[in-house]
Point group: C2
Chain length 248, copies 2
DNA sequence: TCAACTTTGTGCGTGCATTCACAAGGGCTT
DNA sequence: AAGCCCTTGTGAATGCACGCACAAAGTTGA
């Protein structure tokens, strides 16, 4: 989806098993699968809280809003963790997916830009709940520096390198205006951040080895607009109706 | 990516050049292309403001962060709007993409859930700038009802149907806690909303004919976590360099 | 112990998306 | 007007993802 500047050492991911024969390539999980694992994980957490101990691919698929074959294939990339005739053990599967996603450790996250969105992100419970910790808030406005948001003090952008180093941040979230986003991005990378989540409505470029993902509110709306318009014109066609359209 | 409950008329792409009269089946634009059009549009707006009048697919590709062949193929779905040897006319292309995305009209958007995130969305400039208007704010907390945010009054969720009808809302944004998101979603659909953008961390289901997209902050972070972990273990392998590493 | 039942794991066909590579088309210079 | 250069538009090849369908593997009950 977004850029992944992983170096071309993907071949080396094969050389994992000790002896020379089977070399089952456990790595190489498809991007589409990685994107769904968090969805499964959330459904499983919810099931575990409800007291469910095992679940079939069919039921998990329903909870995650996907197809059961997809669930089975996705989970098969992690290993054979199911029991035929029974299903998957919920807590064991939670453990395995968490491990695969790297959520057994708590990543320190820095949020840059403490405006409306940055505030909302800092207070957003979903961040802290599993695997992430807002370790730093950074802004360019000196009048905001020193302010406390949800237990974290706001630092100035000029101190970014120091703050990032001290708090062990490896993931940066950009919630600034578009105009300064690339500059902030460059500073984050220079400070040693290797994963960036960009909320600013602009295209960023990062050097190889740094992962970049984006969340763009207005793009999502525009995609909805496209389909909305299609529906509107489809209705117009149906109104005239010469019997060519095939609705479901 | 996310669910699109559009009927399965994608097959009609081929059956268009049949014996029938020239039905304008310029439709059938791939989802992946639709998702990129807003990116091109933003780059073009920026170029127009900078005074650029024509642009090549190569330059537009650079501005949008994609490959130039992709730009040409994407734009070719809209029609032949380029001039060989020259490139594309910026303002004309803006017009065509805007029209295709349905941005020549201003869609009325309702935001449900006026918490931190809802507030941030309501004040987010990017919404209003092009094609969208926050026409309603809706919350379940009566103590918030009547509050004004960025020129719009907060209404109670029980009045949703009325508000939606009066303001002509067709797109709903869900920024509520996960627990009530499906209920809110059902109410929006019942009120006549046909496109929904979900920020709540839960899987929603909608009836056919309603488009649903989701934005999930914690999922994006977890995907970054996955790659971050991969990078970390790749470094470990390089450090030992022995080739004898057995994961886990 | 065995047979019936349930559910996983996966081979395989299909369709979409990406990218390459190049002919067709248009402007520009001489 | 003619040739050169530039860029578009698109066939074709490749790769990825999805989902069907089924054998393998485990459980349950008699």
């Amino acid at each position: 989806m977004t850029a992944h500047e992983q170096p071309a050492n993907t071949a080396s991911t094969d050389a994992a098993t000790a002896v020379r024969e089977p070399v089952k390539v456990r790595r190489g999980i498809p991007d589409a699968t990685v994107a769904r694992l968090p969805v499964y994980l959330r459904a499983l957490h919810s099931l575990a809280e409800a007291g469910t101990s095992t679940i079939s691919s069919d039921a998990l698929a329903a909870a995650a809003g996907v197809n059961s074959a997809k669930v089975r294939k996705d989970l098969s990339y992690l290993g054979s963790y199911g029991t035929r005739g029974v299903g998957y053990d919920v807590t064991y599967l939670i453990h395995q997916i968490s491990r695969e996603l790297g959520l057994t450790q708590r990543w320190a996250v820095a949020i840059v830009g403490v405006g409306n969105l940055g505030h909302a992100l800092a207070k957003y419970g979903g961040f802290a709940t599993r695997g992430f910790r807002v370790a730093a808030l950074i802004d360019a406005d000196r009048s905001r520096v020193g302010e406390w948001v949800d237990g974290v003090a706001v630092s100035h952008v000029d101190d970014m390198a120091e703050v990032v180093r001290e708090t062990g941040v490896s993931i940066g979230v950009i919630a600034t205006p578009a105009g300064v986003a690339q500059d902030v991005c460059d500073r984050l990378v220079a400070a040693g951040v290797t994963s960036i989540l960009n909320f600013a409505p602009t295209v960023l470029s990062v050097p190889p080895g740094v992962d970049l993902r984006k969340v763009d509110l207005s793009i999502e709306l525009q995609i909805l607009s496209f389909h909305e318009q299609r529906k509107a014109s489809a209705l117009a066609v149906l109104a005239f109706d010469n019997g060519e359209v095939v609705p479901s």
